[in-house]
Symmetry: C2
Subunit: 229 residues, 2 copies
């Protein structure tokens, strides 16, 4: 019979490697992630890592998925900390949590929302579900606005028929919201992402310490455009 994984309490080597990788990425930036440096920090040899990840890209993919999970959970927690009747309160809290998470983990933010994956298309199919799912909190709040009749209705461009199936696929990951809600959520997402990513990349120069207020201003502008009452 084959030797079962381990004897005593499994040290969950995969998690330990990921932890070391996060630590390293926080110090050296997202680009300078080295398997050998991870191994060195863990006092093992580099090829040992290959018992847990087939290659470096797989490790990065796992990090991306974990980052999406952390981000998505932070979004949901922010939403659920506010009564489900206070729709705008939920939206505000989620929006504030968005930036807070990004500023707390800038390299994770950059990892998931910044560059496309090096391996490009095939890897992103593993990642896309996590990414879409992480938007569940935002989409659900917009959908709640719509159901309550408080979504400011405008005529958005419609999804072209040939992409209807792709849309349905994304839709089920994000909680069966109406396409109108998904579109609004996307536009909201783009706006907070735009400000936050500029801020993280240090492209917002004179507003550095005032980033808080500018961001809050933008959240209110979003409210004015999309949400009644």
């Amino acid at each position: 019979m084959p030797r079962p994984k381990h004897s005593g309490p499994q040290p969950d080597m995969r998690e330990m490697i990921l932890d070391a990788a996060w630590k390293q990425i926080a110090e050296t930036g997202a680009s300078g992630l080295s398997l050998r440096a991870i191994a060195r920090a863990m006092k093992i040899t580099a090829p040992a890592i290959y018992n847990y990840f087939p290659d470096r890209d797989a490790l990065v993919t796992a990090m991306v998925i974990a980052a999406y999970k952390s981000f998505g959970e932070s979004q949901l927690a922010a939403r659920d900390a506010v009564s489900s009747e206070d729709l705008w309160g939920r939206m505000w809290a989620t929006g504030m949590a968005y930036r807070a998470w990004a500023l707390r983990y800038p390299e994770r933010y950059h990892l998931i929302f910044g560059a496309p994956i090096p391996g490009d298309v095939p890897l992103s199919e593993l990642i896309q579900p996590s990414g879409a799912h992480s938007m569940l909190a935002l989409v659900s709040i917009v959908e709640a606005f719509r159901v309550a009749g408080k979504l400011r209705t405008v005529d958005f461009p419609r999804v072209t028929p040939e992409f209807e199936t792709a849309y349905q696929q994304w839709r089920c990951l994000v909680g069966d919201a109406d396409i109108l809600s998904i579109t609004v959520a996307l536009l909201v997402w783009a706006r907070v992402h735009g400000l936050v990513s500029l801020e993280i990349a240090r492209n917002i120069p004179p507003f550095g310490p005032n980033g808080d207020e500018l961001y809050q201003y933008e959240l209110q502008a979003i409210a004015r455009e999309f949400f009644k009452e």
Copy 2:
């Protein structure tokens, strides 16, 4: 006496190296830029490059500055193709050119607006002027709106006094616009950047072919929020 640079017509080696670098970045993506591969393509040896760039980072920095220049010129060209009396026409053209440039050179867009520079702060001081200057077209149009009294006025968060000098520095790079115009330009920039960067990173799933329309919708929404008439 020392030997003057070269004899005949200088082949502008720096430019040739940069060209080869752009070619490579377009094929392998921004992360896989290799001096040796550039040298191989140019049929020279790798250390020869060090006669023109002190190290790899310097080459990347030069590419970033060149990309900002290309981007900024494309912005100015779009603006100037429309009569200076047609303010909204200029804004629309500039906005459309923004996305067009990004979709045409996604790796350049990612290079300048995506990740912070690895070398971090010291390098970015070389780059910041180029970056700020590339926003001149947008800022100038917003400023023209303001001068014409067509800027929808709202009370933005003010710049804190201790960052007044940093702001003045940025301001002169961008054409002596009023702080109100700079703030509006920043918010406009964040919105187009948000949408465009999500699109480039393939994070906008069901709207792929409809990216045009969604982007145009957003430009009009920006107009509704900020520009009268």
